[in-house]
């Protein structure tokens, strides 16, 4: 029987190794897997590379993980957020590395990893300093930048509803990066508000098919992010 449910948050994040690349879902405060981030904090892995759209707010959650010196590098489109402080401090002190990636390129690079592609050419950032040092190719009368796939060892994401095979649905814009990240990591770990019987999710309404999910933990009342 295929059953991806685990019984504790500690089990959910077990085995994450030092130096791992962790994809973390969420855009603003929507879809942030708060309890999984807390579990990662408790777990102790360090020297991490974190891929996320933002670099945390306040001093909790991802910001706390960074403040503890556990994040070596962040790959991110918009590290500054309303209320972000920890990233700025670490950046000014040169204690964290930043790879700044345009948001669509960030998402597309993860999709390329998910899809088994070797890379792609995008017009985004062509002719700007974010393309410096990258391969430029002129195609169909326009400059494109070569971008490589971006794969995670682990993805941490939040879902609305799940079944034991790992089929997922999301809630409105909490969906954001989650479907792409789920498919782009070797081990995808999901916290779900609700776990339903197999067959209870309409096959046409599944957003993330279970094949992209490895572990599932039930977190019925997640704490709000960014507080």
């Amino acid at each position: 029987m295929l059953d991806k449910r685990v019984s504790s948050l500690a089990d959910a994040v077990a085995g994450i190794h030092d130096g791992a690349t962790i994809l973390i879902g969420g855009f603003g405060n929507a879809g942030v897997p708060v309890e999984l981030i807390h579990a990662l904090i408790d777990h102790g892995a360090r020297n991490l590379t974190v891929v996320a759209n933002n670099a945390g707010v306040g001093r909790s959650d991802l910001a706390r993980l960074m403040a503890m010196g556990r994040v070596r590098k962040i790959v991110c489109s918009y590290p500054r957020s309303k209320g972000s402080v920890v990233f700025e401090e670490l950046y000014a002190a040169r204690r964290i590395e930043l790879e700044l990636v345009p948001q669509g390129t960030l998402s597309e690079r993860m999709r390329a990893a998910a899809a088994g592609l070797g890379g792609f050419y995008t017009p985004t950032a062509a002719g700007t300093k974010l393309a410096e040092g990258k391969e430029i190719r002129h195609l169909n009368g326009r400059d494109y930048v070569f971008e490589a796939p971006l794969k995670g060892d682990v993805a941490l994401i939040m879902a609305e509803r799940a079944d034991r095979w790992g089929n997922l649905t999301y809630r409105l814009t909490a969906r954001n990066f989650a479907p792409t990240m789920a498919a782009a990591a070797d081990t995808t770990i999901v916290q779900a508000r609700e776990i339903v019987e197999l067959g209870a999710i309409d096959p046409e309404a599944v957003v993330t098919p279970g094949i992209f999910v490895d572990r599932l933990i039930h977190v019925p009342n997640p704490a709000p992010a960014g507080v």
Partner: protein
Amino acid sequence: MAPLSRDQIAARAARDIPDGAYVNLGIGLPTLVANYVPPGREVIYHSENGILGMGPAPPPGRENPDLINASKQHVTLAPGAAIFHHTDAFVMMRGGHIEYALLGGMQVSMTGDLANWSTDDETFPPAVGGAMDLAAGAKNIWVLMEHTARDGAPKILERCTYPLTAPAVVSRIYTNLAVIDVTAEGLVVREMAPGLDLAALQGKTGAPLRLANDWRPLTV
């Protein structure tokens, strides 16, 4: 001379959005545009975090924490809205499906180069978000901004001094003083604030301007 207020710049740009258009409004001044679209026009707003058919802000107390826009503000959905993931949202942007992107600008060059993401100030970390994807991909890029910086320095230039968001993408500029088209023959003033003449406008602009034969006063 009667320069436009920020709301008036937004209202002026709103007048040019056709019925049925797919539009992405950038952070800041452009977000005001939604308040001024003429009645009877159905405009479909895109948000890069996965919404097409975004509605206005909810009434106080009716905010849904899972329904936010790209500026992380609470929003609603219009009837006919669709929700999708980030990668698909950027397919729409990069792939030329968004018809109009109305963006803020720090600088615009006479050839339509846009700089709106970084002042190259190294004292704080850079952030780009979806600005480059939108600038590279939307069918029409309109910039809404004050004509000059706070210190009076022109923001419309022969060449941008700030790092580019994308080269040669802006087709139209709406400022508090003028509406200017970026054409193959250079910058063409379509509208000027009443009381202003081309010489005065040119004095506040860092690139050569030409007045359209059919130019009109800039009014809302």
